[in-house]
């Protein structure tokens, strides 16, 4: 079985269990909606103010959503020691990581997709003209969040104080990614929207570097 077929079988399992229980998506969507709605009522921002701090608020909400969503990824595999069963069954252990990464990215993108129209209405930010560019920024940013978060989730799942460890490791590592994502989003929210290729290039580099590192060393993350 190739890496691709192992990954697709495992991704199917991830989607089936999540859509059956709806644990992650429900919690995350409710949380992220509360953040956006609360801020909107508290500050009642003008369009100009929304353009200035909207991108930061959005990515802050995505970050918290991701840290909620990523924590259970590998913890669930410890309940019945299913991670061991997977390690004994796959031909390439990277497939286990890759399937979780794909699932996390997908769940994060679904959450963002649900949030964006509400954000646009509440904060009076017109998004229709920049949908493809925004989708690109969201995809690259979410991929970076997921790669880093899934890796750290695998590390922290085997540690004591795991609930504390993940955000503690995740937040400093994600700072450059969040700055790049926020800057790229801010450029799209501006009066004259533009795609900032310098920040996009940074996001691509971040994703590629972390993915390569995990591909090379990911096997060790899964060892007991």
């Amino acid at each position: 079985m190739s890496l691709f077929s192992n990954t697709s079988v495992l991704l199917g399992k991830e989607l089936r269990t999540e859509f059956r229980s709806r644990e992650l998506l429900t919690t995350t969507v409710v949380f992220i909606l509360m953040v956006v709605v609360l801020f909107s009522f508290t500050f009642d921002p003008t369009r100009e103010e929304s353009r200035r701090f909207g991108p930061g608020l959005l990515w802050m909400a995505f970050l918290f959503a991701a840290s909620l969503m990523l924590q259970p990824g590998f913890l669930r595999e410890q309940t019945n020691d299913t991670l061991s069963a997977l390690r004994l069954s796959v031909s390439d252990p990277f497939a286990i990581f890759l399937s979780k990464l794909c699932a996390n990215t997908l769940f994060l993108l679904i959450t963002e997709l649900l949030l964006l129209p509400i954000f646009a209405v509440l904060y009076n930010v017109p998004l229709l003209g920049v949908v493809p560019q925004l989708a690109l920024v969201l995809f690259l940013g979410s991929l970076g969040l997921s790669v880093t978060g899934t890796t750290l989730s695998a590390i922290s799942a085997q540690a004591r104080m795991r609930e504390l460890l993940l955000p503690l490791l995740l937040l400093p590592l994600l700072t450059p990614l969040l700055i790049a994502s926020t800057e790229a989003t801010a450029a799209l929210f501006a009066e004259n929207p533009a795609l900032r290729w310098d920040w996009l290039a940074f996001l691509i580099a971040f994703d590629v570097i972390f993915l390569t590192a995990v591909w090379l060393f990911g096997e060790y993350l899964l060892e007991e």
């Binding site: 192992n6 399992k13 269990t17 020691d81 061991s84 004994l88 069954s89 007991e224």
Partner: protein
């Protein structure tokens, strides 16, 4: 599905294996030669190192010192894969999936040809065919154990590692397991199992090894001694 005995014969060699968790030794200088096709019962009190030894044999845990080798030597990125079936304390199946979905998932990962057919036959064997669409979380402990055993047997492995496999099984289930193990043993599979006391399954053992505080304190192939090793563990 069972291949010829010669093709299945795999031996294991533990050389001076140590396993430490912090400052605590789970295993200390364990050296064992398990011949291809042997059926070995490990006995010992809780915490004697049986589970750790089996997890090392499954290559799920790396030893702190020493070496585990297979004969014939296994190649590839994950040598244990495909050749090893492992039944652990935990069921190693997903509570949120049905019995059939669980087995199909692992059958597909293992690259078993016609996975649906194999899963159906195993579900019938373990007496869960009627409950194949029920979520595993709705099962009793014994039913979960049946699914766990079915998962480990999916690919009819050359090396079968069983950590107290009859836990939770009713007499019918224990008989079925014993029959299945007899068949696999006859087909040349090497079986390593940890047991507490004598049972239908312990009759299979051709060798008994007692562990105490992570070291091998007795190792016998003699029938009477073997029984005494197993009964000592249950005392």
């Amino acid at each position: 599905m069972v291949t010829s005995p010669e093709a299945r014969r795999v031996g294991l060699r533990f050389e001076n294996i140590d396993k430490r968790y912090g400052g605590l030794y789970a295993l200390r200088r364990v050296s064992l030669e398990i011949s291809p096709g042997e059926c070995v019962a490990f006995a010992g009190r809780n915490g004697s190192g049986k589970t750790t030894l089996l997890r090392i044999a499954a290559q799920l845990v790396n030893p702190s010192a020493g070496k585990l080798t297979f004969s014939p030597a296994q190649t590839g990125a994950s040598p244990a894969t495909k050749n090893t079936g492992f039944v652990a304390h935990a069921t190693m199946v997903y509570d949120e999936l049905t019995a059939e979905e669980n087995l199909l998932l692992f059958a597909r990962l293992l690259g078993i040809p016609e996975p649906a057919k194999r899963v159906e036959s195993l579900l019938r064997d373990v007496g869960l065919f009627e409950r194949r669409d029920s979520l595993v979380r709705t099962f009793s402990r014994g039913m979960r154990q049946r699914v766990a055993i079915a998962r480990a047997l999916l690919h009819e492995p050359s090396v079968l590692l069983l950590d107290e496999p009859s836990t939770g099984l009713d007499p019918q289930g224990a008989n079925w397991l014993a029959e299945t193990l007899w068949r696999l043993h006859g087909a040349g599979s090497t079986i390593l199992m940890s047991l507490h006391g004598e049972s239908e399954i312990s009759a299979l053992a051709t060798r008994g090894i007692r562990l105490d505080a992570g070291t091998v304190v007795a190792d016998t192939q003699n029938g009477a001694n073997l029984r005494s090793i197993l009964t000592f563990a249950s005392a």
